[in-house]
Symmetry: C2
Subunit: 315 residues, 2 copies
């Protein structure tokens, strides 16, 4: 494939460098990149997307590393999207966790891509969806999406997966349980990692209790015990993911999930277009900064300002 | 003031029940509520908004409770917006933390309003801004905005404050530091609470070190030691907030912050209007669900679908 061929063709031909280039172009919103993505779209829909989230320190990267190894032994190609909220303070520290995963970097059947938290308009979910689509089109059969934190953005990202895995550990204490509770809702599979620690039984019992509190008819959620650093429980986790996959495929719940995912992606894309249109409209009027300044100085109220901008931009 | 008077007039006259009603109407997007808010707007701009966030379990509610008491002793009226990510699992547990604060519920010069996490379109920041505007118009001189978690939404909410207070505690361990790092960036004042615990000196030293790593010219951030349950350090915290307030008022940094806050609010309001317009447009075409279904079944790609919907809705 000549380097002059469209990126999409090179990506479909398996050109890793072209894929990395396209992902970067999509991130930078280079004109034309989205056209490449449209051309790739008919070739997508085959990858199975597994989201992995959980408390910081729960060992998510080790779990993901174990899954990569497991799927590679089965001969499957694995894509990884590591979603990293970048901070001038913490960036390095968090990336440090991922060192273990780097041992797969020389395996051409493993593609690891890090994504930083973007701004609000066309955010993290959009970037993740784009990268997943590229990996999907390239024939990566499994795509693991791992998030560092447990904020709303990351919950959204993991909700887009076909199977959402939430990783926790024993002994985080009641205070931390409160964060965890927020992400329990999105879990299809719960992992209690570091099960060689004291309190593992209690954590499993607590989680079982929380799951029982859910309304009748709530879907089954398996709890898998792991010691990811020793590879214990990886096979069980992969089996639980496979059972969830089988259960969802062709079921009304599975179809509904795919629909919701498409709807969320559509709304993100629309918001981005709207933000662009608003910025263009206001550019002729001193820019959004000037209008924000007028609001800050209380020369106009934000509701009236929004009404006026919306009626100028919307049909 | 007769009950038949417009809500905005009753709110301006100090009618607490009218204020609660308006906040509920704004939440439910009752037609006309936004007109009341527009009428209130000229009466706003006097309240000083202090955001309080930090790790779950850091004792934020106790800190907020201490600040309420402090400001009440100074004779100031205090509004509190408690931002609670609602979850079927955790709702109750988190609200339990707030019991202490309820002792102010009988004080008519303290108004406490809880807000749950809303959906994406016109989310938490918008609801918070609305409630703050109502409290501001009613003459609450200090508005404390407290968040339970430390997700992106909550960081956004606290970023809207005039002064952002981030509360942490000694001994959370390196893993938890990673979450904290993400919110350090927004801190104007850092509180190390539970300073009677072991490791307090080290935590203060670590935070000082992290602050020193920031680029040259980064604004000063005071670190305040507290034992909020004993009331220790509340006066120091109030003094640090007052110093930040003085420093920001009239400074370029302070004006820029007000502008950014107005811009964020404007964009949220615009997104909501855009979402409404999109939903209306698609309603005639089977609804957004039908389009999402078409995307999920790969009859159309999401980028083309977004292009088409955007060109129908945008001028």
């Amino acid at each position: 494939m000549p380097a002059a061929a469209p990126l999409s063709e090179r990506v479909l031909a398996g050109d890793i460098r072209a894929a990395a280039r396209l992902m970067r172009d999509l991130d930078d919103r280079v004109a034309g990149a989205i056209e490449d993505l449209k051309r790739l779209y008919p070739h997508t829909g085959r990858a199975y997307v597994v989201g992995v989230t959980g408390n910081p320190g729960a060992g998510k990267s080790t779990v993901v590393d174990g899954l990569i190894e497991h799927y590679r032994k089965e001969g499957r190609r694995v894509g990884v999207v590591a979603v990293d909220p970048t901070s001038p303070f913490s960036g390095g520290a968090i990336l440090g966790d991922r060192i273990r995963m780097q041992r797969h970097a020389t395996d051409s059947d493993v593609f690891i891509r890090s994504l930083a938290t973007r701004g609000h308009m066309g955010g993290l979910s959009r970037s993740t969806a784009d990268v997943v689509a590229v990996l999907d089109a390239m024939g990566f059969e499994i795509v693991l999406v791992e998030t560092v934190g447990v904020g709303q953005d990351e919950v959204d990202v993991v909700s887009m997966a076909h199977t959402a895995v939430v990783v926790t550990v024993p002994g985080l204490g009641d205070e931390i349980q409160a964060i965890k509770a927020g992400i329990l809702e999105i879990a299809d599979v719960l992992v209690v990692n570091k099960c060689d620690r004291e309190g593992a039984d209690r954590t499993v019992r607590d989680l079982t209790g929380m799951l029982e509190l859910r309304p009748a008819g709530a879907p089954d959620v398996e709890i898998v015990r792991m010691v990811a650093t020793k590879g214990e429980g990886i096979g069980e986790l992969a089996a639980a993911i496979a059972r969830h996959r089988t259960h969802m495929q062709g079921s009304p719940g599975g179809r509904e999930r795919l629909r919701q995912r498409a709807q969320a992606q559509l709304m993100e894309l629309l918001q981005e277009r709207f933000a662009d249109a608003t910025v263009r409209h206001l550019a002729a009027r001193g820019g959004i900064q000037a209008l924000a300044e007028a609001i800050a100085q209380r020369r106009i109220d934000p509701y009236t300002a929004a009404d006026e901008a919306a009626s100028a931009v919307l049909r």
